[in-house]
Symmetry: C2
Subunit: 250 residues, 2 copies
DNA sequence: AAGCATTTGTACGTATGTATT
DNA sequence: AAATACATACGTACAAATGCT
């Protein structure tokens, strides 16, 4: 004993080495969004691997949302700006494979959204507050005109709030989870019987939240937003799971 | 006008079609974790594509964490149980590429953790509460013995809380964000000058949280946990960003 | 505006190391 | 212990698509 402690060497595939190097170049900033990778034939020379290996590496990088390659493009694969698409994809499969329930997703939205509102109540700019007011105004207008624009205005409101929270992680997760929830219940929500009443109630709730924010009472605004979301979605969630949601209401 | 509305057809690659079909089979449940895909040669027959196409598809599926293939395995690629590895990966790149600040990450932890505690205060089982108490006990013991076991016990505590919240999404995100934060400051935390004082303070905070939970006061427990996390990490965060964190403290 | 050179997408054959039976 | 089936990797070839002249 006392000899050198060797670590087990996992046979790392050639394409993985290529992926690692390109990933490193991108994350370190030496390769910026918009720039191009060398062509596949160039890459196989630089890495001294076969074309298939290069291609498998490119497919992995593409799956991770880091690059995009198009047939015939003489400029090589394009380095993409980061987008939460990959995050969105993995959360969606999580929702499908792991049987993430609608209740859990709504609960998560309640948490994220109320936190964003709590933060926004203290950190928002006046311009952002004006945006929120305008979004609610559009919601009011949409009650008469159409049902699509109501949803869009609602999304816009929560988008501003998430942005005003100043936390990119909250912003991204809010966006991802919201779109998943909306996809899950889009068909149900369209033909709800008391749809107009729901819209009016939602608008009233949003107005209360805005009032609390204007008064500078972040905790109250956060509490109201949780209640608002519960009231809006409870109808689509089995009664047995309601207690897990009401546990968030003070 | 009034004619059929055609959608633009993007030339979808052959390997994408393969990915889609396998993905569909897994998410629909007709392929369960542990089961094996046909061999590559078999797949090229079934999809009537070349070997390279099959391999590129497998690389993408592997990158998404759905399958794993090993050289020489006569059984073909294995369908994996879902793991948050992909989620973890994309959040990590997010943290690096998008310059997600430590303050934002800690803020997100404060949000998730306090929500988990709020939920756990009402939904926990007695066994889970006992686990929490035992974790804090191990933290106390670790002040004398070693610094590693303190961190482990702390992680264990927050793991039980996340589990007790009953929300898988909270559980997964908590885990992911915590590991990222710990990786970012692992070197700094090891040689903090007043490390022992920090540990004792942390233990006191955990005990207060437990007391509030025992008393059934979820909101208080949540508030205390936010304060606890702020006190623990504030030293590693630039003072200019402290206001964004204190905005979460009532 | 059309054609040309280059690149990607796909296919096929082959060699080699590895895990299972 | 040998045989078998497999994944990994390499090389070549051709069609389709793209950008440039």
């Amino acid at each position: 004993m006392g000899g050198p402690r060797f670590e087990p060497v996992r046979a790392v595939r050639a394409y993985e080495r290529v992926v690692e190097q390109v990933e490193e170049a991108i994350e370190s900033g030496s390769l910026s969004p918009g720039e191009r990778l060398p062509s596949e034939r160039e890459l196989m020379v630089q890495f001294s691997v076969s074309r298939s290996t290069v291609r498998e590496a490119l497919r992995v990088l593409q799956a991770r949302g880091l690059v995009r390659s198009r047939p015939g493009d003489p400029n090589g694969a394009e380095v993409l700006p980061f987008s939460p698409a990959t995050l969105h994809k993995s959360m969606t499969t999580l929702a499908r494979v792991e049987e993430l329930s609608l209740a859990e997703l709504v609960q998560f939205r309640m948490v994220l959204d109320s936190s964003a509102i709590l933060l926004a109540a203290r950190l928002r700019t006046d311009a952002q507050f004006a945006e929120m007011e305008s979004a609610v105004a559009r919601m009011r207008a949409a009650v008469e005109t159409g049902q699509d624009s109501f949803g869009e205005a609602d999304v816009a409101f929560h988008d501003v709030v998430a942005r005003a929270s100043g936390n990119k992680l909250i912003q991204i997760c809010t966006d991802v989870v919201r779109s998943i929830v909306l996809k899950l219940i889009s068909e149900k929500i369209a033909d709800a019987p008391d749809r107009e009443a729901l819209m009016r109630q939602s608008i009233r709730h949003h107005e209360e939240v805005l009032a609390a924010m204007r008064a500078g009472d972040g905790p109250l605004a956060a509490r109201l937003s949780r209640k608002a979301m519960y009231d809006y979605y409870a109808g689509y969630i089995p009664a047995a799971e309601h207690p897990t949601l009401t546990a968030l209401l003070d």
